[in-house]
Amino acid sequence: MNGSGAMLRHEFRMLLADRIVWVVAAAILLLTGYSVQVGAAAADHQRTQVEQAVDEERERYAGLRETMTSVHQGEVSPSPFQDPTRPYVMGRARGQRFAVLPVNGFQATAVGQSDLIPPVVPVLLDGADPRGAREEIENPVHLLAGPLDLAFLITFLLPLLALAISFDLLSREREQGTLALLLSQPVSARRIVAAKLLVRWGLLMGLVAVATLLSLLLFTTGIAWQPFLFWGIIVALYLGFWIGLAALVNATGRESARNAVALAFLWLVFVIVIPAGVQISAAFLHPVPSRAELVALEREEVRQVQEEASAVLARYYDDHPELLPEGSVDEVDFQTRAFAVNQEVQTRLRPVRENHREALRAQQDWIRTLRWLSPTLVTHEALIELAGTGDARFGAFEAAVDRFHREWVGFFEPLIYTDSRLTPEDLDRLPVWTFEESSSGAAHAAAPGILGLLLFSALVLGIAMRLLRDGGDRRWTP
């Protein structure tokens, strides 16, 4: 193609001659540095929380081993509420294990849900609820008002910066009068626009990629290359969508000022209105019962079950006669009674909790489905999944905590009902927390986003190129 190289060189030069490009470049470099630092600080905070919990648990267990040894040797006799050889004491605060979520290698790129879900969950007989602080799925709200992390910068601000250097890519040529001379040459408007798009896209992509790499090197311990690669693909396609949208608006042949207004409006629709609408509709269509109600219900159940405590206990020993210690049900230890009450409360609350979770899940599904309405939502979802701060990884964490809690209760239950005592050796038999990271990796996390964004970008570019075809009276001609 004649002049392709000259065209790209020329466009690049024209771009650099524009002061706004330097403002955009400076903004990208500074904001990227700042936002990666924000993400890295959040990740560091989580790392510290996890390390502290692990250290605390190790020290506590060392102390417990000593105390248990002393108790066994008859050196001390602590009160029944402090005695770690009693399974009910050990299974609660004194012996609690921490379920911890380690920091993901690429986590500095997106805070995501990590500031909504605690990475350290104490697992004890009474319960283990990582959703303690979490009312609802807050994806889009988070997107609107979350911390200035890299994912926010990419999804929210980068489109504005991209539009600032592309809103007048064809209209300016017409307004400054150069389009007439350009189009009298044997080059099509499509090629001219394509060169402009390519140069802008390349410049922004280069800036963002370099700034991100530098920031990751500066603020984190290293770069996870595989997620970074997929991150790059997502960002490239998302940028492609916005620059393609600028081309589409330019191809309608209006003046620059109107293009700017139209693009600002489209930014508002895709970045603010649709995400907010998705959130509002989710809260409206799939309301989550309030947590306060749940707590009130729990208290009521506790009161009722306590009144029927003897009956509850009797029922249990009816089912498990082999566990009944010597004597009658009425003489059973206070702690066994408390455990039985607690278990019964948990059992009665299970359907309510399950409803609560089901509602959350329905809301989450609704949001996940509707995210296809806006490339911003698609991109945000993909970026936080890549960073390991999205629903997929936290869902896995919650499920693992749930499993571990059941294992924990299962271990202590027979010991409590038989009123047994633990030995220091039993400490090594206690369930241990482990978290298996999903093996599907970055490609799996990014694939739906890549497909969705390919569609979005292809759609806007396709329409733009169709409007820019030769022949017929086109509004964009000089």
Binding site: N2, G177, L181, D470, G471
Partner: protein, 234 residues
């Protein structure tokens, strides 16, 4: 080289150009005379495929413009009434870019300056930013762009409007040179004097219709003006 066959252009039913038949051969300078809105610019824009014909055909070198929009532009150079260039670039850089787009990306600096000099742009302005140029100087770069393209046909839309008499005269000389090199030139103009000077044929247009075709060699200046005014006022 340039040929219009029953070429018509309507905007929402209002004719801007009606059934134009004209032919410009290599070595011809065809001057289209007429008031604003007579259809002169419409004709030129049709040859450039900036707009498409309602009916009829515009042909460049035997090819229909609407069927071969890019191929036909290889044979066309165009100088608009206002040559607008990239203000951040120098005259030489502007020329270099447009030459590259037209397929001549092999011109060295000497060749570029030669085109600029031939177009009458003073040497010390070659490497000044176009932002500092006067209208006449930009017009000269426009001419250089056309020269550098080495096209077989030249479309001119009021090219001398706003030029001082001296520059205008230089421009006429240049047109004659191109004519002698065998370029087919179609020029829309208000300037009866210039048309009589350089034109090998003159067409008078009014309201989209070609009213008369004259041979200026057979007419005096006064005759041309009289005939022109006759067509304007009936």
């Amino acid at each position: 080289m340039l040929k219009a066959e029953a070429l018509s252009k309507h905007y929402n039913g209002t004719p801007a150009l009606s059934d134009l038949d004209l032919e410009v051969n290599p070595g011809d300078i065809y001057c289209l005379l007429g008031a604003n809105g007579a259809g002169k610019s419409t004709t030129i824009r049709l040859f450039l495929n900036f707009i498409s014909a309602t009916s009829g055909r515009a042909l460049v070198n035997g090819m229909e413009v609407s069927a071969e929009p890019l191929e036909t532009k290889k044979y066309l150079a165009y100088i608009p009434e206002q040559v607008m260039l990239y203000p951040h670039l120098t005259g030489a850089e502007n020329l270099e870019y447009f030459a590259a787009l037209s397929g001549h990306d092999d011109y060295d600096r000497g060749r570029i300056e030669e085109f600029l000099t031939r177009s009458g742009l003073q040497k010390d302005a070659h490497h000044e930013r176009v932002g500092t140029y006067s209208k006449g100087m930009r017009q000269k770069v426009g001419i250089a762009v056309a020269l550098a393209k080495q096209a077989g046909a030249l479309l001119l839309d009021e090219p001398t409007s706003g030029l001082d008499p001296e520059a205008s005269n230089e421009f006429s000389l240049l047109l004659r040179q191109l004519r002698d090199d065998g370029v087919a030139i179609l020029m829309a103009t208000h300037d009866l004097f210039r048309a009589k000077e350089v034109g090998s044929r003159v067409g008078i247009m009014r309201r989209g219709v070609l009213r008369a075709e004259l041979d200026p060699a057979e007419l005096g200046h006064a005759d041309l003006e009289r005939i022109y005014l006759e067509h304007m006022h009936d």
